[in-house]
């Protein structure tokens, strides 16, 4: 393999696990294959490994039950929060009156808190359930916002208001990825506070009914922390500790 191609194949091999990378690079060096065949071998192995992950239910759950539907709802919450902020602070009114068109500062703060906790818990679950396919979950969570970007640009909304949910979601995903444990106490506190604020917003007619779906990630965290706690007591692994 020539001098230019080899570093490129080495770079592509970073997609593989450390041990496997060593073995594959060693094999390619030993056989002195062409750069093209080397690339095919590395990418072929990577895509076969990725394909193998999708034989389990976890990646499907993380991508199509957690990331895609939740990011679709969170995108609308982001727009709603931004519109309310513009109305209250800059007295600009966008064509977005329901259900948050009558919100004051109190309900705006409530919605900001909810946006952060919904996004964080969704990201945490996507990151902890299937970390090797997190890039797919991440791409799917951007999909609704990217799809709606031209439409909202026409409505003269700043582009970033579609992505307000991303920073807390990314933070949650990183913590989920690093297997950061959420204690049962913290998870319960988060779920109870989220539920209480959702009830508050709903009782003030400031919650879109579909947003009730976003309550489940925080309660899922409670269930995970509880199972993980009882699992470690009995010597088995909890949901958060196992990854596809």
């Amino acid at each position: 393999m020539n001098g230019i191609a080899w570093p490129l194949v080495g770079l592509a091999s970073k997609l593989l696990d450390r041990d496997e990378r060593e073995v594959v690079l060693g094999d390619l060096l030993e056989t002195d294959e062409s750069a093209w065949r080397g690339f095919l071998d590395v990418f072929g192995l990577y895509f076969r490994r990725q394909g193998g992950l999708w034989k389990e239910s976890r990646p499907w759950f993380a991508a199509f039950v957690v990331a895609l539907p939740c990011s679709y709802l969170l995108m609308y919450v982001s727009i709603s929060v931004r519109c309310t902020f513009e109305r209250l602070v800059h007295h600009k009114v966008y064509g977005w009156h329901w259900p948050t068109g009558h919100e004051g500062f109190g309900l705006l703060l409530c919605h900001i808190f909810l946006l952060v906790t919904w996004s964080w818990s969704t990201g945490y679950i996507a990151g902890s359930v299937s970390r090797r396919t997190l890039w797919v979950s991440g791409a799917l969570s951007l999909f609704p916002s990217l799809l709606c970007l031209p439409m909202h640009r026409a409505a003269s909304l700043p582009w970033f208001c579609l992505f307000l949910f991303l920073p807390p979601a990314v933070m949650g995903a990183i913590q989920g990825l690093c297997s950061a444990r959420v204690s049962l106490r913290s998870a319960s506190l988060l779920a109870v506070m989220t539920s209480a604020l959702m009830i508050l917003a709903w009782s003030n007619h400031a919650l879109w009914n579909l947003n009730w779906i976003l309550i489940w990630p925080s309660w899922y965290l409670v269930a995970t922390a509880w199972r993980s706690g009882s699992g470690s007591r009995s010597g088995s692994f909890g949901i958060a500790s196992s990854h596809a």
């Binding site: 073995v23 690079l25 060096l29």
Partner: protein
Amino acid sequence: MMGEFEYALVTVAAALGEDAYGVAIRDGIEAAVGRSCSLGALYTTIDRLEKKGLLKTWMGEATAQRGGRAKRMVRVTPEGVRAAKAFYQSVMRVSRGASWVEARTRRTS
């Protein structure tokens, strides 16, 4: 029952004995089957067979020829030998009387 490629891999690995590792097995398969074999196909099949308990793998020594990188050594387990033997016998049974093995069948019967 194991598949055709799995059988080829186990057979080549068994023939190589102590020298069975990725590149050697791939070369053996390519020579026997006459088709190229990708590292992706090889290592995912090795993983699958290891999960079934038909192979055992471990990291071998690093050599200068490989740029100081380790080999993934392979050994066929007794279960692997049994599974390969069962596959071979079933292929022989199902082939009995087939036109392309007629001469051999007549000679052996």
